[in-house]
């Protein structure tokens, strides 16, 4: 069982890292280019993955093959998200691409790996007072339950919005233009 877990983790990570590096989304100029709203290759890559998995997940869910469990909303999502985004802007990569970059020989990502672990350690030490500050209220993360409508009334408009964004940025911006 332990060996299966290890092999499974290694295989998923390997495939994911291979895709990230091969698609070029681990590159510092691409990440900063996206955050500066000039290079949208990463956004197009992400929204393609999101749209395709969204449809696959919910279709398989309707066939009873899996159960989609949306994440709830609490204050940590907003505050943690803003802290994370600031870190991502400073680094020029996120945790997944950081690991792939280590494999590519980028040394500052090795340093960042330990920094990220330290960040989680600080979280572990401070979460008690922080949680009491944000009052641990939570909202159900399933939008279709919140609105009381069939989930395909959300999935289809979401897919249309994502595809429109991809279409728009693809038309308007060139991925290979030098911006720095």
């Amino acid at each position: 069982m332990l060996l299966i877990n290890i092999l499974f983790g290694l295989a998923v990570g390997f495939i994911f890292g291979f895709i990230l590096t091969k698609t070029g989304v681990t590159k510092y100029p691409r990440v900063m280019g996206m955050l500066l709203l000039k290079d949208f290759k990463i956004l197009k890559f992400m929204l393609t993955a999101v749209t395709s998995s969204m449809i696959l997940f919910y279709l398989l869910g309707d066939f009873g093959l899996l159960k989609v469990v949306p994440k709830n909303l609490d204050w940590g999502k907003l505050v943690g998200g803003l802290i994370f985004g600031t870190g991502m802007g400073i680094l020029g990569y996120c945790p997944g691409t950081m690991a792939a970059r280590i494999g590519e020989g980028k040394k500052d990502s090795i340093f960042a790996l330990f920094g990220t672990a330290i960040g989680i350690l600080i979280y572990a030490l401070t979460i008690k007072p922080v949680k009491s500050l944000f009052l641990s209220g939570e909202i159900n993360g399933d939008i279709s339950i919140l609105l009381g409508i069939n989930r395909w009334f959300i999935i289809i408009p979401a897919a249309v919005i994502f595809i429109s964004i991809i279409y728009f940025v693809n038309k308007k911006f060139d991925d290979n233009k030098k911006i720095f």
Partner: protein, 184 residues
Amino acid sequence: MKVDNSKEWHWFTGGILVSLLSVGTYFIFAAIADRNYPFGITAGFGYIAAQFGNLFSGLSENPVIKRFSEKPDAFIEFFILIGLIAGGYIASKISGTLSPENIPAVWEKYHGKSFVKRYVFVLIGSVLLGYGAALAGGCTTGNILQGWAHLSLGSIVAGASFFAAGIITAKILYPKLGGNDASN
């Protein structure tokens, strides 16, 4: 036919492959780790943090440390992390882009060659990244690639916050752009 390995894959190819990986992973994860969520990266960093934490006897009862050192999914995500390093290595080796680099070239062009300056920024940035990912319950992989696909309200807010703060930070670091001699 000669295949040019140095070329980047199209964003569409990469995106579709990631979605297939997500869906495939879901089933295996559900079978071996009893959780109904595809994959993330944050818990893998949590596993490393828990190993640090366990060095101090007072911390072993901390609920976060306990969760990351005992739950099987954190253990698996630690190996996803190792796999990512290997995947990045092989992909860059095949593409011919494997290159030891201390500081990103673009950073060097705008912020100078100072090793200390970049690494101080990296330390601050990565601590924020880890803290934020833990508080938001996931990073770009868990909250956008998976969370947006699940249409999770929590993840939509988290992902939008990633972009909002990232865009502002990038603008502060690179207020003015220019020049044509930059290289990747």
